[in-house]
């Protein structure tokens, strides 16, 4: 009930104004429950409270807004309350997700003279962020920066984690934080009484409320940390306890120190994928590239070519074949992860069913190269065997043995058709980079980086490979330009924007007109 000084007071009007609260949530997050709690709270204190919403179809997972106003009656007269929030008049914004907090700022609901912004900092990604072939996750720090400008006060932390820990909902955490913010002139007991009167899930809700109340009091919540997770590099060990592994470590140390982390990540992956000898082959190739790198002034560029190759050559050499998938699916660590991810308790049993669809291509790829080629040449003969997809119940002994057996093909991997093809592809790719380095070092680096476009399986893999081919196809032309690497980078970014490569085609058209 802040006083609003101005001409109103001079005319003899009362100067009270209602407390205005906006709740931004997604359909299904319990925004309505929270609004009802706040109304019940205010009414229990003898106030008039009004809430409105526009549920409709927006309830189906879309962004929704609930709006409340509250004020005590005066001399028996009920206040006239607004059904819509006005920009600059909202005292408290409760946002059930970080980007929704951002949306509240964009809608002008958060202003520095008035608004306390209470937000959960966790993310629920929107379709636009998820569907892109690349990384389209919105930068959370932008919201925190804007909140610092827009809000009078910010209280933000991961309320979803807190809600999960209490087996409750985010609405209870927001309610607890609202109580802790002291933005409503009601005591904590009154808040708790509302939850108790609700009758359903009282204990979990109270636990979440109390946990949030405590956490909201911590100073760190005023500028919440929303750092994105970085990459985890294992430190390069002094020794690994086996001669063949130790030899690999020695060889890594022969490279410049800035390359060590990535080289070790690559060596680890390839040892796991095949064997130490395979990792040694990787270091051989990197060694060749590094020498070339050095001869072309790479030292001044932090050996960017070798660094890029350290990453993408490891990815390329650890291709996803049937053997690899079967190996990953049968590991103890995988069984444990399934238990953990699905919160399987002690008294429960979990079995997994894998959705496999081996096609003739995959089967032929796993065969020794001549046999694989023969199979591919006779699709009518062999195709019938691989038309059906398989639901592999990997927790049963029979199906486990099938996968276990496939993973046991590792020793013959180097003779398979798939391996031959992957190696040929790598040779061609690196040869192009090597051929370009003299003309344009940076373009050569971008040729290596373009390998990022190849991922996925079957059609997705084919589309990725076609994008990769189109991007590196532009390299010879671009190598002649000083800004060629910038264009290569733009092409790669464009290729990651959509599935069909429409943006890439547009970018290539531009390149062709340079």
């Amino acid at each position: 009930m802040n006083d609003q000084s101005g001409t109103g007071a001079r005319r003899g009007f009362t100067t009270e104004r209602p407390i205005c609260v906006a709740i931004l949530a997604m359909g299904g997050q319990g925004g309505g429950v929270l609004a009802d709690w706040i109304v019940a709270l205010a009414e229990a204190q003898g106030w008039h409270a009004q809430t409105t919403s526009v549920p409709g179809v927006a309830q189906r997972t879309g962004a929704t807004l609930y709006y409340l106003e509250m004020l005590p009656p005066k001399e028996g007269r009920a206040p006239i309350l607004s059904l819509m929030p006005a920009q600059g008049e909202v005292d408290v914004v409760l946002a059930a997700e970080l980007m929704e907090a951002g949306r509240s700022i964009l809608r002008g609901l958060v202003t520095p003279d008035r608004t306390t912004l209470i937000a959960s900092t966790h993310r629920l990604f929107a379709t636009a962020e998820k569907e892109k072939p690349g990384n389209a996750i919105a930068d959370p720090s932008v919201v925190v920066e804007a909140a610092g400008v827009a809000a009078k006060r910010v209280i933000g932390f991961d309320m979803e984690a807190l809600a999960n820990a209490s087996h409750s909902h985010i609405s209870a955490c927001l309610f607890g934080t609202l109580a802790a913010s002291k933005t409503l002139p009601f005591p904590r007991d009154a808040f708790e009484a509302v939850i108790k009167a609700g009758g359903r899930g009282v204990e979990p809700n109270l636990n979440a409320f109390r946990a949030a109340y405590e956490q909201a009091g911590q100073p760190a919540t005023a500028k919440p940390a929303v750092k994105r997770p970085g990459k985890r590099f294992a430190p390069l060990p002094a020794a690994a306890g086996r001669a063949d592994l130790d030899r690999l470590l020695v060889r890594i140390r022969e490279f410049p120190a800035p390359l060590h982390d990535m080289l070790f990540a690559g060596v680890k992956r390839l040892t796991d994928f095949q064997d130490p000898a395979y990792a040694a082959e990787y270091l051989d190739r990197i060694g060749t590239l590094h020498a070339l790198d050095r001869d072309n002034g790479g030292a001044a560029k932090s050996y960017a070519l070798a660094a890029a190759a350290a990453k993408y050559l490891a990815v390329a050499m650890a291709y996803d074949d049937v053997i690899r998938v079967a190996d990953l699916k049968t590991r103890t660590s995988r069984f444990e992860r399934v238990q953990r991810d699905n919160a399987v308790g002690d008294g429960q049993i979990v079995y997994t069913t894998e959705y496999m669809h081996p096609r003739l291509e995959e089967a032929a790829g796993t065969m020794p190269a001549p046999l694989g080629r023969f199979m591919e040449a006779h699709p009518r003969l062999f195709g019938v065997l691989f038309r059906k997809s398989r639901r592999v119940r990997s927790g049963t002994i029979r199906w486990f043995l099938v996968l276990y057996g496939l993973a046991a093909l590792k020793p013959i991997r180097r003779s398979t058709l798939r391996h031959r093809r992957e190696m040929a592809h790598i040779d061609k790719w690196l040869a192009l980079a090597q051929a370009s380095i003299a003309a344009n070092y940076d373009v050569a680096v971008e040729i290596v980086n373009a390998r990022r476009l190849i991922k996925g399986y079957s059609d997705t893999h084919a589309r990725g490979e076609s994008k990769f081919d189109r991007v590196i196809g532009a390299a010879p032309q671009l190598a002649a330009r000083a800004d060629g690497a910038d264009w290569m980078r733009r092409l790669r970014d464009a290729a990651l924007l959509d599935e069909g490569g429409i943006a890439l085609d547009g970018a290539l058209k531009t390149v062709s007109t340079l």
């Binding site: 009007f13 009270e16 929704e100 964009l106 990604f125 998820k130 690349g134 970085g230 086996r242």
Partner: protein, 717 residues
């Protein structure tokens, strides 16, 4: 069975004289109907009036006790036609629907009803779905009142005013022999407030009495020459009667000082907004005092010429606050004042926008502009009204505008419609893009990413009808989508019958989820639930065959993406002529979970063996290409940033909300995506046999795992 139970709200319908009702606006209207002695209520669900229908559906005992007949009408047209019971009998009836879409559908019946006029009070309650969150075209219902000469109430948006409007509406209808529309905007329908209730009233004249003692009057039938007389009667008798009633009962209200240089005329529904704006300008307070006279049109049509003239006379200017376009009321004000040669200036759409929602900021800006033109002294040196302009131009906030992703509504977790559109996307990858017509319902979400399917929507149940022009020789066939709600609303005849009769060579997909799902999960004819009050379980397939379709395919498991894809391909390539109808049936997951989850939890607590299915992604197998997401869009299937230094892009991840619908696995099979998906079958309360088998499996598998891991040469983690 609607999406939520209204058992508690039903108790509110029983409140008696002097009790205080606290709750939602639309439920206050429901209570007001019973207080007014209504005999019958019908309607068609849709935001924002679904709750009126839902609470009455749950209130059988209250209705039976009062002798009130309640019906879930097949469409708004059916609902409006129901009001025929009030033509010859002194029986009060009310129907309700979402507007203006509902009134578009109902207008045939309403026009006929309005022509002959009514004896008993006939109330049409429309939930005006305009502005933010609206799911329909942005139009006004107002001209329907004008063209049919029926009266339009637009009460102030508080519960006492809305309840009074219901009571007044019946009386006005009876006094003027005219149906009355009560317009309630979406926020007013959902507003939480309070009013002092009255006891419910049994109707004085029952439907049974009418049925057993039928009356007729040829003059009330819309047939020449009576229809010519009706038009004159509307103007010469019913209109004056209405004006007299509205004046005598002071349905429109005046606030503020009697004398002033300027004044504001507002639609009743905008009273609160106008008051808040005046408060921001220092010209009113929150308890209703105002320095500017306000004439509130609780009756938006007809205008009361004398009241308007009296309000305007002696003022320099008046401002009409009227949302939407065209500005019917503002135009009428000018006519009234010109006819009487009153020179008061009429402002409205010159200072307020012609199109778009009247948000507080818009209204404040408009009133301020009006005062600056005609009463600058009133503004004095008031502080500027609050706004967020300074924040919105800050560079950091401008960066934010590029960051915050759009979040339109979409298919729920586990929605059975998702696999249908995934299959359509796969078929289009094979056969190229097609001309696809959408319809009204949740399935329209398919037109957004990630599916991007559907080019038009022409109205409820009109999807296949909107493809009818494309019945020509071509290498591709048109596809139309229609939901089960639209199918029964009018799609069976207007869309499917039309296609049969005209030998339409297209493909029709009927999305059957057992409910009118988008409007809140109400039962419809083909619902699978057993509803003692309604006839359900009428199969869509039977109806389609009955109307003459020869090529019909049906699945009771839409999640079978492979079947959906193959069947759709067959339909698009079949040599057979005529419409090809695919009925894809699976229960709406939102409603299914409401039904199944409590049972599941009870079984788990009760120690019963239950298997719970969930999906997961092996993140080390996932390469982060997100192809699965582009075929799903499930809120539960998301991405997560990985700390693996060899992976650039986020990997797929499935969260705790997964209901194990199976779509992920089926899509990954049908589209040959990656093998990273798995289904986890979690056995709660396993039996001794389960435990024994698990122990054997664990022993064998564990032995093999340890054996291989002991031999594996790797760097320690």
């Amino acid at each position: 069975m609607a999406e939520r139970s209204f058992a508690r709200e039903v108790q509110d319908l029983k409140l008696g004289d002097g009790d205080e009702f606290r709750g939602e606006g639309i439920l206050a209207i429901t209570k007001a109907l019973l207080q007014s002695g209504v005999s019958y209520v019908g309607g068609y669900q849709g935001a924002p009036i679904s709750h009126l229908m839902d609470v009455l559906a749950d209130a059988r005992d209250v209705l039976d006790e009062l002798g009130v007949h309640f019906e879930n009408s097949a469409s708004e047209a059916a609902a409006a036609a129901m009001l025929a019971a009030s033509v010859n009998y002194p029986i009060r009836g009310a129907v309700t629907f979402k507007s203006p879409v509902g009134i578009n559908v109902a207008s045939d019946a309403i026009a006929n009803l309005a022509s002959g006029g009514v004896t008993g009070g006939a109330l049409i309650i429309i939930g005006e779905d305009y502005g933010e969150g609206s799911s329909i075209m942005q139009e006004r219902s107002h001209p329907f009142a004008m063209k049919s000469q029926i009266w339009l109430l637009d009460p102030r948006p508080n519960l006492p005013s809305i309840v009074k409007a219901v009571e007044d509406g019946f009386e006005l209808s009876e006094a003027s022999h005219t149906p009355v529309m009560l317009e309630v905007r979406i926020r007013a329908c959902h507003v939480h407030g309070r009013f002092i209730a009255k006891s419910n009233r049994r109707p004085g004249f029952s439907l049974r009495q009418a049925l057993e003692n039928p009356r007729r009057d040829t003059e009330r039938v819309v047939l020449p020459p009576a229809s010519y007389l009706h038009e004159r009667e509307k103007i010469e008798q019913r209109w004056p009667a209405a004006v007299k009633f509205i004046k005598e009962r002071k349905l429109n209200e005046l606030f503020g000082p009697e004398k002033a240089d300027i004044g504001i005329i507002a639609q009743g529904g905008f009273y609160n907004s106008v008051m808040r704006s005046l408060q921001q300008l220092g010209l009113a307070d929150v308890y209703g005092e105002t320095a500017v006279p306000i004439y509130v049109l609780n009756v938006a049509y007809p205008l009361i010429d004398d009241e308007v003239a009296a309000f305007a006379a002696g003022k320099k200017a008046v401002l009409m606050v009227e949302e939407g376009q065209p500005e019917f009321i503002e135009q009428a004000l000018n006519t009234i004042l010109r006819r009487r040669d009153i020179q008061t200036k009429v402002c409205g759409k010159d200072v307020l926008p012609m199109a778009g929602e009247y948000t507080p900021a818009v209204v404040t800006k408009g009133i301020k502009a009006f005062l600056e033109l005609h009463a600058k002294d009133l503004l004095g040196n008031a502080p500027p009204p609050p706004d967020a302009a300074a924040v919105l131009v800050d560079p950091k906030v401008k960066t934010l505008a590029k960051t915050v992703p759009p979040r339109p509504p979409g298919f729920c977790v586990g929605c059975p419609e998702r696999p249908i559109f995934a299959a359509m996307k796969l078929v289009q990858q094979e056969l190229g893009p097609h001309q696809i017509a959408g319809d009204i319902g949740c399935h329209l979400f398919a037109c957004l990413p990630p599916f991007n399917i559907g080019a038009t929507t022409m109205g409820y149940g009109l999807g296949p009808a909107s493809s009818s022009a494309f019945n020509v020789e071509a290498d591709k066939r048109p596809i139309s989508v229609i939901g089960d709600g639209g199918f029964w609303h009018n799609g069976l005849s207007t869309s499917v019958g039309n296609a049969v009769y005209n030998k339409h060579d297209g493909v029709i997909i009927v999305v059957d989820n057992f409910y009118s799902a988008a409007t809140g999960g109400q039962d419809i004819m083909s619902s699978r639930a057993k509803n003692p009050a309604r006839s359900t379980n009428n199969a869509i397939v039977d109806a389609v065959k009955g109307i003459g379709v020869k090529w019909v395919r049906h699945t009771d498991r839409t999640y079978n993406v492979g079947w959906m894809r193959d069947t759709l391909r067959d339909a698009l390539t079949s040599k057979e002529g005529g419409p090809k109808v695919i009925v894809a049936s699976s229960e709406c997951m939102l409603n299914k979970q409401r039904r199944v989850r409590p049972q599941f939890q009870k079984s788990v607590r009760g120690g019963q063996r239950v298997v719970q299915e969930r999906f997961g992604v092996d993140e080390d197998v996932c390469t982060g290409d997100h192809a699965c997401i582009r075929l799903s869009g499930c809120p539960s299937l998301s991405v997560k940033e990985t700390d693996d230094p060899l992976k650039d892009d986020p990997v797929a991840a499935i969260d705790q909300n997964c209901v194990g619908c199976g779509n992920c696995g089926e899509v990954s099979e049908a589209a040959v995506l990656c093998p990273s998906f798995y289904r986890a079958d979690i056995i709660h309360n396993p039996t001794a046999l389960d435990r024994f088998i698990a122990a054997v499996r664990r022993a064998v598998i564990g032995f093999l795992q340890r054996r291989r891991e002991a031999r594996r040469v790797v760097f320690a983690d």
